[in-house]
């Protein structure tokens, strides 16, 4: 049985992080979303994968290679244009018989994947607010129809994005027409198939999807909660480590650092002296968290520095960023209201009271720069000394 991972999308709502990486390669707890998915699928006993890649697909390919690192086989299919999920699945027709499809940007539990393996069907999940998803209309266990994004959902059961198909699905995919979004959607193919076939709905339990950048923080927290501590790096004297903390090889934690788990710190990092790392923080490889810096509930990607006298809270910082001495990121509005952000020219309520900044790759800030709550900074931007950054800052912008 082959497993098809859909990993071609850009994830426009994940900008500015996805200007430089595809959505599935964004890290939570130091592993790309797609890798968590792969690991769970392997645990469920799957070992033959086809990744449908597209937007910045070479990054996916370079990371996963032929899959030998995970002792599995990975092949790639390139979807040139974002023409939708049905189109993506159609591309693998020649290579599969009986197969499982996983949306690469949603993390599924291994038990659920195991459940899906047993028979043809579509994964269902119950959510609190079904507005943003495809709502599933059921008759017993049988799928009647998947409705796209209803204003007033008829139920709270939604399409989870995990499928087990046989060869006959391709017949319906070929008949599928472009949706109003201009894409070929697999849900349209399924709806067509549902009118003549019995398609079973399979309830799954573990399901976590990410839509906006701040959802990464929630997912990060969830994964770190389950993590066990392991220290392989070097720890100097007078370092306090509480709770589950992972410190990987080659990293050094210097005198006076205080780390409250769950925290994960990647390879070859320099931590401290005298820094404070608080729960639910993921720090990638080759990072530097220096003297007098405090980091809380954040994701810091590979090669970025929070070197001197910084505060980073509830934020996502991309790869190869450098914060100047004294750069601080605000994470709470003075009026304590929900934080709203501007992304892709639209205002979005994050429904979070605490949110720092979302910072793309290769961003540099000067000394004492201040970054306001909910600020979205594009890749390669430059925030000058003592400047104040707020709102959406496009890539390559210079705020002096």
């Amino acid at each position: 049985m082959k497993t098809v991972m859909l990993a071609a999308g850009e994830g426009k709502r994940m900008r500015p992080l996805t200007y430089t990486k595809p959505k599935v390669m964004l890290p939570v707890a130091n592993k790309p979303i797609l890798e968590w998915n792969l690991i769970n699928a392997i645990k469920a006993g799957l070992n033959d994968f086809i990744f449908v890649i597209g937007y910045k697909g070479e990054i996916v390919k370079n990371y996963f290679g032929d899959g030998s690192k995970w002792n599995v086989n990975i092949e790639y299919v390139n979807q040139e244009k974002a023409l939708g999920t049905a189109h993506a699945i159609e591309m693998v027709e020649d290579f599969v018989e009986d197969f499982i499809v996983l949306c690469g940007d949603t993390i599924f539990g291994s038990n659920d994947i195991k459940k899906m393996k047993r028979k043809y069907g579509i994964g269902l999940v119950k959510v609190e607010d079904a507005k943003e998803y495809g709502v599933v209309e059921l008759k017993g266990k049988k799928i009647v129809k998947i409705h796209e994004k209803m204003e007033e959902p008829i139920s709270n059961i939604i399409n989870a994005g995990i499928y087990h198909f046989g060869k006959e699905i391709f017949e319906y995919i070929k008949k599928t027409e472009k949706s109003p979004r201009g894409e070929y959607e697999i849900t349209d193919s399924i709806n067509m198939m549902a009118s003549s076939h019995e398609i079973e709905g399979v309830y799954i339990e573990e399901w976590k999807d990410v839509i906006y950048p701040w959802n990464l923080l929630e997912l990060n927290e969830e994964i770190l909660k389950k993590m066990e501590g392991e220290i392989e790096g070097e720890i100097e004297e007078n370092v306090t480590i509480k709770g589950n903390v992972v410190i990987e090889k080659g990293s050094i934690v210097k005198n006076g650092s205080y780390i409250e788990g769950p925290v994960i710190i990647g390879k070859n990092c320099r931590i401290g002296p005298n820094c404070y790392i608080r729960p639910y923080t993921s720090i990638g490889d080759d990072c530097h968290i220096g003297n007098g810096s405090e980091v809380k509930n954040s994701i810091i990607m590979n090669g970025s520095n929070v070197p001197h006298l910084n505060y980073v809270g509830d934020s996502v910082i991309g790869s190869n960023c450098n914060l100047g001495a004294g750069t601080k990121i605000a994470n709470l509005r003075l009026d304590k209201k929900n934080i709203k952000v501007f992304t892709n020219g639209k205002k979005v309520d994050t429904k979070r009271r605490k949110l720092g900044a979302i910072i793309g790759d290769n961003v540099q800030t000067g000394i004492n720069a201040s970054i306001n709550v909910g600020c979205m900074i594009g890749n390669n931007a430059f925030i000058g000394p003592a400047a104040i950054a707020s709102g959406e800052i496009k890539p390559h912008t210079r705020v002096m």
Binding site: K178, P180, R181, G391, K394, H396, T397, M400
Partner: protein, 395 residues
């Protein structure tokens, strides 16, 4: 479903801004009016759009191309002479592939929500809305959801409902319109009388926004309206000590020099230079490649592409066309005044309206509501207290 967008007209009442571009290409919030129409169609899932272009068609084709940037397919039909909407509509016939279509005019701003109600209904139907000045439009009377009468610009309006000129039709409409056009009746509304007689044409009340831009000062109102939903998004270079308050959009490669004060909603295009110490106040749109020199102040105005405004100038409630060169200490005084456009008198409160490619010297004052035509030259130290026709020199 497809859409036919009628965009061939000049819009004479909007002169001088239509001197070098069709009405549909006049920018509000740095986007041509037509682009709002295309966006609304796209949001409603319409992916094939036939634009009937005529007057200055190149500027439309140059901006929209084949539509790929908007993720839609755009094809062009041409109306050589602007002799009526029905005639324009017929030009699109040979490009139509679907049975059902939406027909609308490219010079009205309609939002996606307003269009959705029409699209859900059966053809033929017409989108209608209420108006304070119905007699300027096609006045509609409604009975049980069907249109019973449609009169173009009657002297006395029997109802306050007007036609937005947005329709949903089936392909059979072409034959009817063809018949009327052959008999010299060139407007779509003429042909609609056939449906109205049989009570077949449904009138659908508008649920969203529909804005018609008829006179130059409408540009300011609509501009302020579309800027309302602006995000805070900056690009380019923003120097030290620039104050940005509220929602401001700044385009790529634009430089905002030190000491400038920008209070949103304001949109500034690509490749502009602003300041140092320039103030830009709410409801202002500044196009691409615009330079605004130090110590100038601009509020509630539209400045189109490639224009330059000198130091110590004041622009309030005014529209400056494309490619103008305005030297320092220019003032556009704002006030209540009477304006004559195409032999009609209007009472408005506005600054001034300056057509494309004007050259204005230093210390020029333009009195409230005055319209300066395209390609005018005004020498230094003049006070402009009446309208200036296209291509004039004031010395």
């Amino acid at each position: 479903m497809e859409a036919i967008v009628l965009a061939a007209g000049e819009g004479r009442r909007l002169r001088p801004f239509t001197h070098y571009m069709p009405k549909v290409m006049i920018p509000v919030g740095n986007k041509p009016i037509l682009e709002y129409v295309i966006d609304a169609l796209k949001e409603n899932g319409i992916r094939r759009i036939i634009i009937v272009a005529g007057y200055r068609k190149e500027s439309i084709m140059g901006h929209f191309g084949d539509g790929i940037k908007w993720d839609v397919e755009i094809v062009y039909a041409f109306q050589e002479k602007q002799i009526g909407t029905g005639h324009a509509f017929l030009q699109a016939k040979k490009f139509v592939t679907d049975d059902e279509m939406v027909v609308l005019s490219g010079d009205n701003i309609i939002d996606a929500k307003g269009l959705a109600a029409l699209i859900e209904n059966d053809a033929p139907s017409l989108l209608i809305c209420e108006s304070k000045i119905p007699s300027k439009y096609g006045v509609v009377e409604l009975e049980n959801g069907s249109v019973t009468s449609l009169k173009e610009k009657p002297t006395f309006a029997e109802s306050n409902l007007i036609s937005t000129g947005i329709y949903k039709f089936k392909k059979d409409i072409f034959d009817i319109v063809e018949n009327f056009v052959e008999n010299g009746k060139n407007r779509i509304t003429d042909a609609l009388q056939v449906f109205i007689k049989e009570k077949k044409l449904k009138g659908i009340k508008l649920q969203g926004t529909w804005r018609d831009i008829v006179y130059p000062w409408d540009i300011l109102d609509v501009n302020a309206e579309v800027l309302y939903e602006l995000p805070l998004s900056v690009a380019g270079t923003i120097e030290k000590n620039v104050t940005i308050r509220g929602n401001v959009v700044i385009g790529e490669d634009t430089i905002i020099h030190s000491g400038s004060y920008i209070e949103g909603p304001v949109i500034i295009g690509k490749g502009c230079e602003i300041g140092p110490n320039t103030c830009i106040f709410p409801s202002t749109s500044i196009g691409n490649n615009v330079t605004i020199h130090p110590f100038s102040c601009i509020r509630n105005s539209v400045v189109m592409d490639n224009s330059t405004i000198g130091s110590y100038s004041l622009l309030s409630n005014s529209v400056v066309g494309k490619g103008c060169e305005i030297a320092s200490r220019f003032s556009a005084i704002e006030g209540e005044t009477k304006v004559e456009v195409e032999n009609e008198i209007h009472e408005i409160k506005a600054g001034s309206f300056i057509g494309n490619d004007c050259k204005i010297g230093a210390n020029v004052i333009v009195e409230a509501g005055k319209i300066i035509g395209g390609k005018c030259t005004i020498s230094s130290n003049k006070v402009v207290n009446r309208d200036v026709p296209d291509g004039s020199m004031v010395i």
